[in-house]
Each structure stands twice: as C-alpha cells, then as structure tokens.
C-alpha cells in the first residue's frame, strides 16, 4: 500500500501534491527541472474557448509573505491546448486536472465538453473565481444561484468529474460551496486569490497595471485554512486545499482542516523544486505524527 495515495472523484493520485493552476503553465517549463510523473496531478493553466492575451504589465508585485498577480487568464485557447499542450503531457504518468474558464455559460460548456475528451484529463477545475478579468470568472463565483446553474450546465456537458474552484472574495464561502454541491460538483478546490492592491511609494499609484491583483503566498494561508475547515463541515464532497502552501507542515494543516489533496501555487516561483520536495518530505512527517497513511489525516481537526 502506498502511504501517500489519495482517491479523488475520477482519479486516484499517487500522492496528494499538485501544482496549482496558473503557477505551472502547462508543465513544460518545470519539466526542465524534474520528472513531472512524480506529481500527484497537475492543474494546468486556465483554458478559454479562444486565446486570451491577458492584462497589461506589470502583472505581478511582491507583498509581505506573498505576491499579487493580475495575469488575466492569458492562454493560447482551447484548440491549441488540445492540439499541443495536453498531447505533450501524455508522456508523463500524471493525471491532468484541466482548469476551465469563460465569460459566458456557453464558453464554459464548450471548453468543458471538448477538453474532457483528452485522454489525460481526469477532471475539470471550473474557474469561477478569477479576480483579474472584467468579464467572466468571478461573477459566476459570487452569486450562489448563478454558480449552481453554471455547474449544472457544465456537468451535463463534461465527460469527466467537475471540481469547482471557489473564490474567498465572498461573504459566505460556505453558501457558495453548498450551491456548487447542489449543482452537481464532484469536488471543491479552494481558495483562489484574495483581491488586493500594492501602491508605489513614489507615485502613490497601484504597482500592478490592472490596479488590483490576486494575493497569494504564505500570508493567505490562515484564511484558506479557516475556509477549508468551514466548508469541510458543510458539504459531502472532497476538497483540494490551496493557499500559501510552502512547507510540509502546511500540507498537514490543509489535510487536517479537511482537504483530501493540496495544491501548491506561489511557492513554485520561490522554490521551483517545492512539489517534489514536499512529496519526499511527507513520509517522514507521517512517521513523526504516528500516522500510517495520508488518508488518515483528512479532516482530523473535526474528530
């Protein structure tokens, strides 16, 4: 028995660690550094029906214990991802969770239908929480009824399980979680970034061209843990936790709060080998905690 194995809807992972969407491109860059087959899964960059150019630069700014970004869902579009990015990833023994974004329900449905046909896509991650685009993304992620309807529409079209990525920029993330569960979501991934801003000391103007950006990194971890903790109690579908994970202790915290697996975002930029490092560090951590399997840690805060 593999101590690190974790079962999610539609796929069993060899370990609970995966790079988060938007922080890992489509894998090719990090493949120069290590074997992607080592990863539990890969959440690829958001794919939209047509290619998107994203926001003006500067798109990133450092903050205390994290960073702001406003990339704006830049991606080469569904056709290109299906023809080039996903086939390239097939040489690795790693399941792909495809992040799907759009501005209209029809866009989401179209991308979900097509991208779930790729043989290495085992699940979708419905992006209803990008804070950096004017149209699409977050309006689906802030109104429970709109979110529920979108999930229902995507579920009908998708050929693989549908995970839904929640935004922390809401009054009640529990209400959002319950809504997507009613809509038929197979799992929840959380949290996306928190909307923030950094000012230039000299000019007093925002550093990021978009004005606001999404805050990520170790600074947001307490918010993410609290939200995973609350959502775990409120729904019966699994959670993939993320938000500032950069140490093996962070991984343990997310599992304890109720996550079945953990995604790593900003830490990839700081330490490019962070995902394999965390995977390698897990067995010893389990020993220290006197726990046989990763599975045994899920939701232990609530027991």
């Amino acid at each position: 028995m593999n101590r690190l194995e974790i079962a999610l809807p539609g796929v069993t992972l060899k370990n609970p660690i995966m790079p988060a969407s938007g922080c890992f491109g489509f894998g090719q860059e990090y493949a120069q550094l290590y074997d992607l087959s080592k990863l539990g899964a890969i959440m690829i960059k958001a794919t939209t029906a047509e290619q998107r150019r994203g926001n003006p630069t500067p798109r990133v700014a450092e903050t205390a214990a994290g960073m702001l970004n406003a990339i704006g869902l830049q991606n080469p579009g569904l056709e290109h991802v299906l023809a080039h990015e996903l086939p390239w990833l097939e040489k690795y023994d790693v399941p792909i969770i495809a992040n799907v974004a759009g501005s209209e329900t029809e866009d989401y449905v179209q991308v979900a239908r097509e991208i779930s046909k790729a043989p290495n896509v085992y699940a979708l991650e419905l992006n209803i929480s990008c804070p950096n685009v004017k149209c699409g993304g977050i309006q689906f992620g802030t109104d429970p009824d709109v979110a529920e309807a979108l999930v229902r529409a995507v579920k009908e079209a998708a050929g693989v399980p549908v995970y839904v990525k929640l935004s922390p920029n809401v009054t009640s993330i529990v209400d959002m979680a319950k809504a997507v569960e009613r809509g038929g979501a197979d799992a929840i991934t959380m949290i996306n970034t928190l909307v923030g801003m950094r000012l230039d000391q000299r000019t007093g103007k925002p550093v990021i061209a978009n004005g606001t950006g999404g805050l990520s990194g170790p600074g947001i971890k307490p918010v993410a843990i609290r939200m995973v903790y609350e959502v775990y109690k409120a729904v019966n579908i699994p959670i993939i936790g993320m938000g500032g994970v950069s140490t093996v202790e962070d991984v343990i915290d997310f599992l304890s709060a109720g996550a079945s697996a953990v995604a790593v975002g900003t830490a990839n930029f700081v330490e490019p080998f962070i995902c394999p490092n965390l995977i390698d560090a897990l067995p010893q951590k389990l020993d220290e905690l006197g726990v046989e399997n990763v599975q045994d840690l899920i939701g232990r805060s609530h027991r």
Binding site: G22, C23, F24, G25, Q28, E29, Y30, Q32, L33, K45, R53, G54, T57, P58, R59, V60, A61, E62, T63, A64, A65, G66, M67, N69, I71, Q74, G217, P218, G219, N268, F269, V270, E271, P272, F273
Partner: protein
C-alpha cells in the same frame, strides 16, 4: 541546462552610487554559455523578500567557476543582496533565457553596443565574446550622472568607449542617441540593453540595421510558466521576456 545551486559569495564591492558588483562561485557556472542570460536569485530564506530577483550576468569566468553580476541596490531584495559577505551563500536558479547571438557578427566586422544604466552589465560579457571572435566593438554607455558611471575602464580595454550622462557630469552630455547621432559610427550589428524608452530610441535610430535588444520586465517564475513578463510582438502575438528573451532580434517585439 537550468540548475539550482547555493553559490558562495567570493567578492562583493560597491562600484558606483547604489551599484554593487558581486561574484559567486559554483558548478552552475559551467552551464553559462551565452552572454545576455540572467539568473533568478533568492537572497534570503524569508517571507519578505520571498520572491526571486532576476539579475543579468555581467562576466563569466569558467576557469574559476565564477560569475559576476552588477546590480542596483535600493529594493527589498537587492538591499539584502548588497549586505552579503564573502563566504555567504545565494540561492541561484539559472542560467535563464536566451542571450545575445555573437555569431550574428562576423570576425572583422564591427558591433555597436549601447547600454543604459543597469542595462550596461550584460554588454560586458558580450563585448568580451565579440572581441574573442575578432569583432571590433564600439561601446556607448548612458548613465544619469558621474556618480552612476561604472565599468568605464573595463569597456575601454575592449574597444572605443563613449560615456554619456544626462547632466553632462561625465563624458558627453545627453542621451545615448544624442551621441550616436553626433558621431554616426559605422557598424554592422547593434546590441542594446536598457530601459524601454532607450531601446525604442536606439531601435528607431537604425532602421534597416541588424540588431538585438534585451528587454526588462517584472518577473514571477523566471522560466516561462507564470505569464507575468509577457510582451506584445509586431506580428500580433506575444513573447515571454524571461524564457523567449530577454534578448530579441530587432523587429520582433512591438516597441
């Protein structure tokens, strides 16, 4: 090949106002082949600064497995870097990006190297390589004022060197393009690195000439995964400054 290594500081000194020269030693130096590439540095195991800082490579010494960078202190990361002592280590990821193609200038030909401020450093390794190849180099280096000038003597040893300062406190007064228009030097290829307005001016000064421009942009990952440093290209597409660049042939990037 991109590697990560904790490299040892073997030298550090201030060479101009806020400008530091630091030399690191380690195996990773073996991977550095092209002038104009950069490294992504983690200067402290801290939450602020936490992100890596992209710094260009100014000099490569393969024999001693050392390389040198020149950088401007003043930011959160570069201030920490400037306080590193001999024997301290710096976490280096690199070499990254595509540098200047020296093979685009033939032995016996002349290359014009134009640098502005902290864009000057990568031109030093480039000039060394061009000279090794038998290319004659002319250097036009722009700074704000006399206190900002560095490496004048080093460049002088490699070829004709003009210092230009905005306030005229050292060398010629004006911008690099002021001097270029005045001297109108004959050359075959230009190579340039500096702030975007300078790149634009240099680009416009030489229509029809073969040239290579090194760009600067805020970066996240430094290897092409995060899409933070994307720039528009003249064909309507886009390029990533970190992994497709930072050096692009003239005409590729929309200026």
């Amino acid at each position: 090949m991109i590697q990560q290594e904790k490299m040892k500081v073997v030298r550090q000194q201030q060479v101009a106002d806020s400008i530091f020269e630091i030399t690191l030693e380690g195996q990773l130096t073996d991977q550095m082949q092209e002038p104009g590439q950069f490294v992504h540095l983690r200067v402290a195991d801290s939450y602020e600064p936490s992100l890596r800082r992209p710094i260009s490579i100014a000099n490569i010494d393969h024999d001693n497995k050392q390389f040198t960078m020149l950088y401007r202190a003043g930011g959160r990361g570069t201030d920490v870097l400037s306080k590193k002592q001999v024997g301290d280590v710096v976490d280096v990821l690199g070499p990254l990006g595509h540098g200047f193609p020296v093979e685009e200038t033939q032995p016996g030909e002349t290359a014009l190297l134009v640098g502005g401020g902290i864009g000057v450093p990568p031109l030093y390794e480039l000039s060394k390589r061009l000279n090794e190849r038998g290319v004659k180099t002319i250097h036009v280096l722009g700074f704000r004022g006399a206190k900002d000038v560095f490496y004048e003597e080093e460049f002088n040893q490699l070829g004709e060197t003009y210092i230009v300062t905005e306030d005229g406190s050292s060398g010629h007064q004006g911008f690099v393009t002021t001097l270029i228009n005045e001297k109108n030097p004959a050359f075959d290829t230009f190579y340039t690195c500096g702030p975007t307005p300078m790149l634009r001016a240099v680009d416009q000064a030489f229509p029809g000439k073969k040239g290579f421009l090194s760009f600067e942009e805020r970066m996240g990952c430094g290897i092409g995964a995060c899409y933070a440093c994307v720039c528009d290209t003249t064909d309507g597409g886009y390029k990533k400054v970190c992994s497709d660049g930072p050096v692009f042939a003239k005409g590729v990037v929309a200026l």
